[in-house]
Symmetry: D2
Subunit: 343 residues, 4 copies
């Protein structure tokens, strides 16, 4: 295989991060996220989001972050609203249900949640014979690579506040979203608009790690109990702190995301130019071109990628993902080879 | 503070491990534990335990390993038997109960489970108004630093088999147990005697990571579903594979454990010589001397450690822990300072 | 209000049942379903289904029966397939998810499950990042009053067997289904075609009570533990036994269902004659006429019923339910009044 | 067998209750506890407890009441403190753990909870590595027939309030406790001293049914969602309302309890007179005489009862239970036969 565009976690970590791990390795630190590196990372993130009152916690992965956050918020009979394509609905092996909660599904073509969709679900849930929707789950960028504009997020946020719903944003690919050429949101906006979110490290240059940011005071109580109970508290929590210090002490978090996006744009712009259609408009580090099955088969001889969805008997949408580690040479070579195959 | 003996996860990772992470960093690998490093680590562990039929899975921490293993085994109404001091009973924030299962507690002074204790619990559970004990949880070394001799483990194993009970061994500190001067067990013995166990990396030289070993065929089915659902499947699973390759490609796993134990013996032998008593006989990397509260207070000015238990109004047992990273100079200095304080 | 057609549980119990309760009241019996009446009811049901190997258990309600059955079958990562209108999906306040399991929803217009629908869900669930569908939930009659023909149930049953799926039939209204003028199924057929089902008493003449019938040997193990754990085991289990003896010692179960259906047909035949359309074809004790909202409002001044669904801005489908207790005079009067309102 | 003293649910219901069921049988009522009988029963109970602000809900059994109440109160990481002999700890098949919560066990000889015992457990639970005790579970009368005096309950109540603990009283046998010759508590006292309790109907003259009384406003929110989700909401909720109206419209609840106690005293006074010792002092409808095993065996030829506990190789404590239905003649005959066997 020439190159793997299957995902944004094919390689290890950004070099700065590995260097920082080496440098701090023999310092004696407290366990369980109470070390000096986690403290420093918390301080840096609070600065970036311009919210000194937020609570910050580090866990090792996205499914873990989502199940800890969601189960910590909901009472037994409360449910979470999620797009049909949402990660918690499809790709977490029922992790949310395993903590006891129903997911109310909003059908969505672009991976995004709309106020109308939330409203419809609320209208259908009238009494105690049905669950009580209490939380809205969105991801930015979404599982289909789309992003929320400031106005959209604001509308959802206001609707949630007005309807006694919490709002949680899954930021596994938040770096790529905020670095998108179409983005008009900042970390500070997000902090102001959602009750809780997490900033993804794993898919943005770290070995592992997601930073949970809790803005709503009500959701902060005893949160570490939830982390510990669900197996999310690393004994050597420093491993997460050290990495997030590197990502946020300067601009590394955004820098690596910009690189990932640039590599994706290179591919999507060229394919668009060739006449390709896309499942969703390419704006972040995931590109979903719709291709003839024959072409897909030939491409797959040299490149790693997933088939996202069958479009019809002849065509499918594939998923190409770039990352901080994607080599520009490999991208150029991919484009070159693609052109040859694309008649 | 001069030195921290609070636990065996105060430092990062053994240098070999960091080197291996650096070296493999830019290789493109499959995600979720399906990479070449995990495969190689599995092969190496199967060799060490001399059981090619075992299933090996890597997860990031001990609580996570325990809750995934235990919840994957038990039906809703089944329970797990555990010593009163057991990690799952005391120090996992109800993680096992959060997956729906009762823990049947066997009172234990030395942290170990006995056949008599299991039998008593079985006798008390007669019908469907009570849970059905189905699994025995042991740890080696235990939370009180004690270890199981081969004969003891064999007796428990045989009793479990004869009584339709599964046996799970928590090996968070298995390295230290097997490297104990009193140990007569091998990894191969353990594989032959328990249905499932895990080999602790976090407390034995790794940044994080535990290797779950499933020997009983019945317990293997769809195990990866459980890991994913409980948030235990790292996207960059290579991080765990690379580390366990280092630990088991030669003898590093045992080497670092031997160092930890030697540092502990140095302390315990000297304290015994001075006339100290211990909560449990020191045989692994945890030492529990019983000291005057006054002495404890003075010691705590210079050293980090936990108070394990109040013995009486004047005396308490403290816990001193050593690790692969414990410096011999720091141990010597500790002993020197201890002698000055100890009348 | 002249009369209530809101549901089939507005009245108490059939007179025979009350008489039997009175008669047996002072007999001293074992508790928890181990009494002579439960034993006798089990024998009678086994005779009716012609399956002496079945296990029979009595619980107090439908949600309870469903949650006990489903949670007893599924491993943590397994899911249940259900029609979008299914009771467990909509009207049990997330009871199934509260036991830890995802419901995979099959969109359905008539409340029924199809083999194509199951197949589509199976095709979408490929690996351990998704739940593993393991059980199919159907109800007969369905929440929309429709019923399964023998050929349909056979096809579903065979598909399930061929695809390692269990099949559970919710029989809250099984009496009405089997007494339908379109029915060609027998209790014996059902026993042969599903792994587990329950026979509804609450909506068919009893004060309360559902009889769970387990046909598949694999699902029988320790079932009483599940009942007890979920709070479904009545101390005075005799209360359920006595009632099911009455329902099945002769033909009372079918007799009361036939009466309910006849009352429903009287209404639906007349409304059809008047030109009404229905949400689903009326074949059991639930009738869903589509009416002008204005008419609905007038009807609601004198009659109790629910609005099932908005059809468009002018029309809605209402739900009229009859039961063993529905008085023919009240039905006649309803029809008479309806005619006056229906221009 | 001459007579069964095995429990207080061997017979059906008090005649007044059956009469009321017959009388109300054909009234059309709302389902799910929203009928006129439940409303009237709520009103009557509020009067008896002199607390118009309480919320009252009816469910069918004690395990169900406990699991609904406890799971509705606790957050995921919170636990409930219970005596070692407590019903939720021993005889509910892990129902509480199945809702995700640990039970912290206080060793108890008499079935009662003490402030010292609670305090010890609180002291042992320091941080997020352990569950957070948040609720104290007591039963009155206890599983060993003992009762709480007003002063004791007050002390526990005050301690709980001062330590941010909720207090729940399981009143499965509350009738017998309040009718005890040693009792100095009233229903009104209990309402003032606990956050939530339930009044047992099943063991005090009803066919089935427990009345949950929520005094603490914080615990009232959306409680019906919990009942429905856990399968505790009967479609024909009237069945519970009708019965509690009978129990509380005059004095029936206390009357039947007094009879049960009188029958128990007759036995215990006579046995004490003969020189028998008891496991606990007999004050309610459960009597635990300690007898020679030989005598027990002979008694068991004619009488139904359980062996509570082995005392030594020769002696065991048995449990004799009386109820509203216990016939005085049978008690007299029992005493007569007992005397003959007792040397």
């Amino acid at each position: 295989m020439l190159y793997n565009f299957r995902n944004d976690y094919s390689e290890g970590a950004h070099n700065n991060i590995l260097e920082a791990l080496l440098k701090s390795n023999l310092e004696q630190e407290n366990g369980y996220g109470l070390d000096s590196h986690c403290k420093e990372a918390e301080r840096l993130i609070k600065n970036k989001i311009n919210n000194n009152d937020a609570d910050i916690h580090f866990v090792s992965g996205g499914t873990q972050a989502n199940l800890i956050i969601i189960s910590s918020i909901l009472r037994s009979y409360e449910s979470v609203i999620c797009a049909s394509t949402g990660h918690i609905n499809v790709h977490e092996t029922g992790a949310i249900e395993a903590t006891g909660h129903k997911i109310n599904i909003m059908e969505s073509d672009d991976g995004k949640i709309s106020v109308e969709g939330i409203k419809k679900i609320l209208d259908e849930h009238a009494d105690e014979h049905m669950v009580k929707p209490r939380l809205v789950f969105i991801s930015n960028s979404t599982e289909l690579g789309t992003i929320y504009k400031k106005e959209e997020l604001k509308e959802i946020s206001e609707f949630c506040k007005a309807n006694d719903l919490y709002l949680h944003l899954d930021g596994a690919r938040l770096g790529s979203a905020l670095a998108s050429r179409e983005n008009d949101l900042t970390l500070e906006d997000i902090t102001n608009l959602v009750d809780v979110f997490y900033i993804g490290g794993t898919k943005n240059g770290a070995l592992l790690g997601e930073a949970i940011v809790i803005n709503n005071k009500e959701l902060k109580t005893n949160f570490r109990y939830n982390i510990k109970q669900k197996g999310g508290m690393l004994a050597k929590g420093r491993l997460l702190g050290v990495q997030f210090v590197e990502l946020f002490k300067e601009d590394l978090f955004f820098e690596v995301a910009r690189h990932a996006n640039l590599m994706a744009y290179k591919i999507s712009d060229e394919l668009e130019h060739l006449g390709c259609e896309f499942l969703t408009k390419p704006v972040s580090n995931q590109v979903f071109p719709i291709l003839d099955n024959e072409l897909i088969e030939k491409l797959s001889e040299d490149y790693g990628f997933n088939i996202e969805r069958k479009i019809n008997d002849n065509k499918s949408a594939i998923r190409l993902v770039t990352s901080w580690a994607t080599e520009e040479d490999a991208v150029d070579e991919f484009i070159c080879n693609f052109k040859k195959l694309y008649k």
